[in-house]
């Protein structure tokens, strides 16, 4: 390019440059405390608009009052003082989105915090978005395999479903969620794990575990730690679902974990009380239901016209002393399409995952189960219910009729079979095989104490010599598959 061309280009740009007067609306900080600031002025400020403090700090307009704007400060608020100026950006809070966030740990504003450098992005999206409408959706009929036998068999989850994981502290809620992420390897599912109010050490341990198991490649962790201000905890799930929506609209299936929404509700309560919004039940603000319903409605399966992807949400709720009738648990139970209820007593008895089959339910997942699983897991729930009832009666009597004894023995076997170690997801075909074995009395001669060993040997046998049968089991269930599976079990038993 010649010098003349450069000069003429520059001249043209300068001539076209608008020299209009630049008008900026500003307000003044009247008070600031605990991550919340009150601003006087800013009469035209919009709800959820980003406001600039001028020192690299931003705030989110949350309360629009007659004389003041109440804002959540995003990040460190210790250097903001009374009298500081705040200017409008005229932009609704947005976060960057990109496939490059996979494998990274980021904060709720999608800034990497794993020390592996910045993520270059071209696109940003507002964190608040209306969920897809009815016509954009399609039914949930593709399974989201968790790799956990008790879930895939009894409370199956479909792609696009919202299944709540609920239980007291230390009952294995996070473990269920992480195992589900681990099981997505090779399933073409992208995962987003949103940690809300969690200890950073715990989240870093999870990240390390996922990395070691090769699951971090398709996972993004959005972390708002226990020491982060309440506004960051409030934003984290919305940032996570914004990234998940980006993946979904590209046609991908996404799994998102919110760990946990109890802490999210607590953060929102803190922010609302500081903003002097009227408190309601348990001091939560009146719109705490909407807080979670608008978040979880964004999980869905969209039709081909809208990308054909899905977001499966596994929100987690922590209960106190197993009380599922508290305010936030009942809210989230009513929003979701089912719940996996984990119980301390089962956990302490060594039944892990400690899923209470009676209280757990999946409202839409049944139609997403594969045929072989549906056939073999069908009678399981009833058998377990009968076992629990008879087991409690059997405690009072030593003489049991043979039929009752058989039901109890079978129930005990089922309970043993549904036990599973952490971070060891089982592929669905193997789950079908073991359920078929127990349902058809192939395990009656196996002692319950040696069942875990029998099971792992059986899986190894299937991997080594029956891989074609495993493949067939994922595709359908007919007399041929049933016969072949029966023969395979017999062959394995003879080989021991």
């Amino acid at each position: 390019m010649s010098v003349d061309t450069i000069i003429s280009n520059l001249k043209e740009k300068i001539q076209k440059h608008s020299s209009d007067i630049h008008a900026t609306e500003f307000g003044i900080v009247v008070s600031v405390a605990d991550g919340i600031a009150k601003i006087s002025g800013l009469a035209s400020c919009q709800m959820s608009e980003m406001l600039d403090f001028g020192n690299g700090n931003y705030g989110l307009a949350t309360n629009l009052e007659v004389d003041y704007v109440g804002i959540m400060i995003l990040g460190d608020y210790t250097n903001i003082k009374e009298g500081d100026r705040v200017t409008r950006t005229k932009e609704i809070l947005s976060v960057p989105v990109s496939n490059d966030f996979l494998g990274r740990v980021v904060d709720p504003l999608m800034r990497p915090i794993d020390g592996e450098g910045d993520v270059q992005t071209k696109e940003s999206r507002p964190i608040e978005k209306i969920a897809p409408g009815v016509m954009a959706r399609q039914p949930v009929d593709v399974p989201m395999q968790t790799g956990i036998k008790a879930i895939d068999a009894l409370v199956p989850v479909g792609r696009g479903q919202r299944e709540l994981i609920i239980g007291d502290r230390q009952t294995g809620k996070t473990a269920v969620a992480i195992d589900t992420i681990i099981n997505q390897k090779g399933q073409n599912v992208k995962c987003v794990y949103v940690a809300i109010g969690q200890k950073k050490s715990k989240v870093m341990r999870i990240a390390q575990q996922l990395k070691e198991l090769g699951a971090m490649e398709y996972t993004t962790i959005v972390l708002a730690g226990a020491s982060d201000p309440a506004p960051m905890n409030f934003l984290a799930p919305y940032a996570g679902v914004t990234l998940a929506e980006y993946f979904m609209e590209s046609g991908d299936d996404v799994l998102i974990i919110y760990d946990d929404l109890t802490k999210h509700a607590n953060a929102y309560r803190e922010v609302s009380l500081l903003l002097r919004r009227p408190p309601g039940r348990e001091a939560y603000p009146g719109d705490v239901f909407y807080l979670h319903s608008r978040l979880l409605e964004r999980a869905c399966r969209v039709n081909a016209d809208h990308g054909g992807g899905s977001i499966t949400a596994l929100p987690i709720i922590e209960t106190q002393a197993g009380d599922i009738s508290a305010y936030i648990p009942t809210n989230v139970i009513s929003i979701t399409d089912g719940q996996i209820f984990l119980e301390s007593s089962l956990f302490n008895k060594g039944i892990r995952p400690a899923i209470n089959v009676g209280n757990s339910v999946s409202r839409v997942g049944g139609s997403a189960q594969i045929k072989s699983m549906k056939k073999n897991a069908g009678p399981l729930k009833l058998q377990l219910a009968q076992f629990r009832e008879l087991e409690s009666f059997a405690q009072f009597s030593s003489d049991l009729d043979p039929e009752t004894k058989k039901t109890i023995d079978h129930g005990r076997k089922l309970v043993e079979i549904l036990k599973q170690r952490q971070s060891s997801p089982v592929p669905v075909a193997k789950q079908v095989a073991i359920l078929y074995a127990v349902n058809n009395d192939y395990l009656n001669d196996v002692d319950n104490a040696t069942l875990p060993e029998w099971e792992s040997d059986f899986y190894a046998f299937l991997d080594a010599s029956k891989s074609d049968l495993l493949e067939k089991l994922t595709k359908g269930w007919s007399g041929d598959e049933e016969k072949a599976l029966g023969e395979a079990i017999e062959e394995f038993k003879k080989s021991r």
């Binding site: 440059h17 630049h22 900026t24 609306e25 800013l42 007659v66 004389d67």
Partner: protein, 124 residues
């Protein structure tokens, strides 16, 4: 329940209209008749804050590189509807032009800002 800030707002808005000559007397009578006299101190504090805020917003502050002519200042006042001038300050870093602030809006007509914007436009 009636709040002191709501009463203060009403009093302030009434007082702004010069036709209302007995605002204070009427306020006292109202508070007495409704047994709200304990709120008086709080109401006055709110009125004071409101006045400080409004007068800060309603006065025109000007920062200029070189002093502006009387006619230009009065023209600006007329355009913006400003009645009083709050402060006038010289800042040669502006190179030329001026910046003014009125009613929560900052109008930047300085040469330095124009140059920054032009630089950004040329770089991008």
């Amino acid at each position: 329940m009636i709040h002191s800030d709501a009463i203060a707002r009403a009093v302030y808005e009434l007082a702004e209209d010069s036709a209302n000559k007995h605002v204070v007397e009427n306020l006292i009578a109202y508070l007495e008749s409704h047994h709200l006299m304990p709120l008086l101190v709080s109401i006055l504090q709110h009125v004071e804050q409101m006045h400080a805020r409004t007068s800060a917003q309603k006065s025109l502050d000007i920062i200029f590189a070189y002093p502006l002519s009387e006619s230009l200042v009065s023209e600006i006042k007329k355009v913006l509807g400003a009645k009083t001038i709050g402060s006038q300050k010289q800042d040669k870093d502006l190179i030329g032009g001026f910046i003014m602030e009125y009613n929560g809006v900052r109008y930047d007509a300085s040469v330095s800002t124009q140059l920054v914007r032009l630089t950004n436009a040329l770089i991008s």
